[in-house]
């Protein structure tokens, strides 16, 4: 979450986790249930936006929301099937257990085709085509100064948006009048 949706540094991580913890605590104190994953994702997105020059990759966030939307009904269907089968008797329970183990084994085997281990877990997937900056990001970029402290040219720019003009450069209209 700290690299795919947005790039965050430790101060943003601290802010995100504090926000998530307070939300979860306040909400459970008042008695309502919530999803920790969704609260943490929202907190990370917010802290990514809050950092000066921060950009949120909305396409990744969109994919996460779709995944949330699909997994709830999918989990519901799978457990409904399993409960129905297990309700048939002892053979049903055994079948559910065997099927569960077999499917978990198959998924694990499929995941080992391209293993993620300590050598590549922090790699950022290369983007095939530069993601066009969204409307909100473009608007924010035009009114906010680029992040301070960058020494390499182009480090503070986003593909698709022209680099920030110097704040005190005179506009052509005012200098062309003779």
């Amino acid at each position: 979450m700290g690299k795919g949706i947005t790039d965050i540094q430790p101060p943003q991580g601290f802010a995100a986790q504090t926000g998530a913890a307070v939300t979860i605590l306040a909400s459970s104190h008042l008695g309502f249930a919530l999803s920790t994953t969704q609260v943490c994702s929202g907190a990370v997105m917010g802290s990514g936006l809050g950092r000066k020059g921060g950009v949120v990759r909305w396409s990744t966030a969109g994919r996460m929301v779709i995944a949330w939307g699909l997994t709830l009904p999918a989990a519901g269907l799978v457990s409904a099937g399993a409960a129905f089968l297990a309700g048939q008797g002892d053979w049903g329970i055994t079948t559910v257990a065997v099927l569960g183990l077999a499917i978990c084994g198959a998924i694990w085997a499929a995941s080992r085709r391209k293993p993620v281990d300590s050598s590549n877990v922090n790699d950022v997937t290369p983007v095939e085509s530069a993601e066009p900056a969204g409307v909100v990001t473009a608007a924010l970029q035009t009114v906010s100064p680029p992040p301070a402290g960058t020494t390499t040219t182009g480090a503070g720019t986003i593909d698709g948006i022209p680099a920030q003009a110097a704040p005190h450069s005179p506009t052509p209209a005012t200098t062309a009048v003779r």
């Binding site: 504090t18 926000g19 307070v22 939300t23 605590l25 306040a26 104190h29 008042l30 008695g31 309502f32």
Partner: protein, 82 residues
């Protein structure tokens, strides 16, 4: 379906206030207890840090950290006692 907007509003307000407060306090604590604040203090013109290693600012930093710890302790108390 009825939505308890009042409770949602309470959660939102509490979260906003406490999160901003805690992150701000922690930042003040770091600024207060840091030693390099002299240069950045003058460049940035912050009112808080003159020279970071003076006793008063360091004490202020420790107070801020203690307040953060108190907030965390209150949270744990809420969980355990609730």
């Amino acid at each position: 379906m009825n939505i308890d907007w009042a409770a949602l509003g309470q959660v939102f307000g509490t979260t906003l206030a406490v999160t901003v407060g805690m992150v701000g306090l922690f930042t003040l604590g770091i600024v207060g207890t840091s030693r390099k604040a002299a240069q950045e203090g003058e460049a940035g013109g912050t009112a808080v840090a003159g020279s970071g290693s003076s006793a008063a600012t360091r004490a202020g930093g420790y107070v801020c950290f203690a307040l953060c710890l108190a907030a965390v302790g209150y949270g744990i108390f809420l969980i355990v006692a609730g």
